[in-house]
């Protein structure tokens, strides 16, 4: 898993690639904490290069969604395909996180 964070005005873009799973999610958690701490208003999580996700990766993204929303931020997950899209649909997160 690799990620990059880019801030532009009110917008924070988080690009995640590779496999977001139990072993890599802790690394992303730190970045999520800082995005939340910075009270960013518009957060786009670009998953077009995300190949695999598991329930721990989903948990981290849901946590981002909930915590950002708590201070009025919006989270939009884009670019999901293949296995990550199937997991999002199974957990009925497509309707909530995909804008």
């Amino acid at each position: 898993m690799n990620f990059t964070r880019t801030d532009e005005g009110d917008l924070t873009k988080l690009e995640i690639s590779g496999s977001l799973d139990a072993i890599s999610t802790p690394e992303l958690r730190a970045a999520i904490d800082s995005v939340v701490g910075d009270q960013r208003k518009t957060i786009v999580v670009d998953c077009s290069a995300l190949r695999l996700i598991d329930s721990s990766g989903v948990g981290a993204l849901v946590s981002l969604y909930k915590r950002a929303r708590a201070h009025g931020g919006k989270v939009n997950v884009t670019g999901l395909c293949d296995q990550p899209l199937a997991i999002f649909k199974l957990l009925r997160l497509d309707k909530i996180l995909i804008g």
Binding site: S19, D21, A22, I23, L52, D54, S55, S56, V58, G59, A60, V62, S63, Y65, K66, D82, Q83, A86, I87, L90, L91, R92, L93, I96
Partner: protein, 148 residues
């Protein structure tokens, strides 16, 4: 039918290696003419996803707060079918004690067993020495888009 056995330490460090073995095993499930490439891709995706959750549970729950033990994986590669048996030497638990996740509440955990059950045809757990989680899935055309 062919058997693959893999034994590794039950820690997350070995997750990637184990997932690769399961993905390669899926590719060895014999082709049938009546199965499309899409159905095969969905089969692989479901089996790999379910296995990843099973692996996480051993590494995170079974050996939590105790010495890391081995994780034994047995894969039966059949014709149009795969069976995974994942054995650990942890204390075991009763899956019936585990509540289904309430998806409307946007849970942040507790989705692992749900993913396994939804993506595999059958999932069973036998506590013991070792504990064995068994999962089976058939490769059939109806996989496409979940249409029965």
């Amino acid at each position: 039918m062919s058997l693959i056995r893999l034994t590794i330490p039950g820690t997350l460090d070995y997750r990637d290696l184990a997932v690769r073995v399961v993905a390669a095993a899926c590719k060895l499930v014999a082709h049938r003419d009546d199965v499309s490439e899409d159905a095969r891709a969905e089969f692989d995706m479901h089996v790999v996803s379910a296995f990843g959750e099973a692996f996480n549970n051993v590494a995170i729950h079974s050996y939590k707060g105790r010495a890391v033990g081995p994780l034994d994986i047995e894969i039966e590669v059949g014709v149009g079918e795969i069976t995974l048996r994942i054995a650990d030497h942890g204390p075991g638990y009763d899956p019936l004690d585990v509540k289904e996740p309430d998806l409307d509440e946007l849970p942040e955990s507790g989705m692992g067993l749900f993913i396994m059950r939804e993506f595999m045809d059958s999932v069973s757990y036998q506590a013991g020495a070792p504990n064995v989680l068994s999962m089976t899935k058939k490769l059939t055309e109806k996989e496409i888009g979940g249409v029965a």
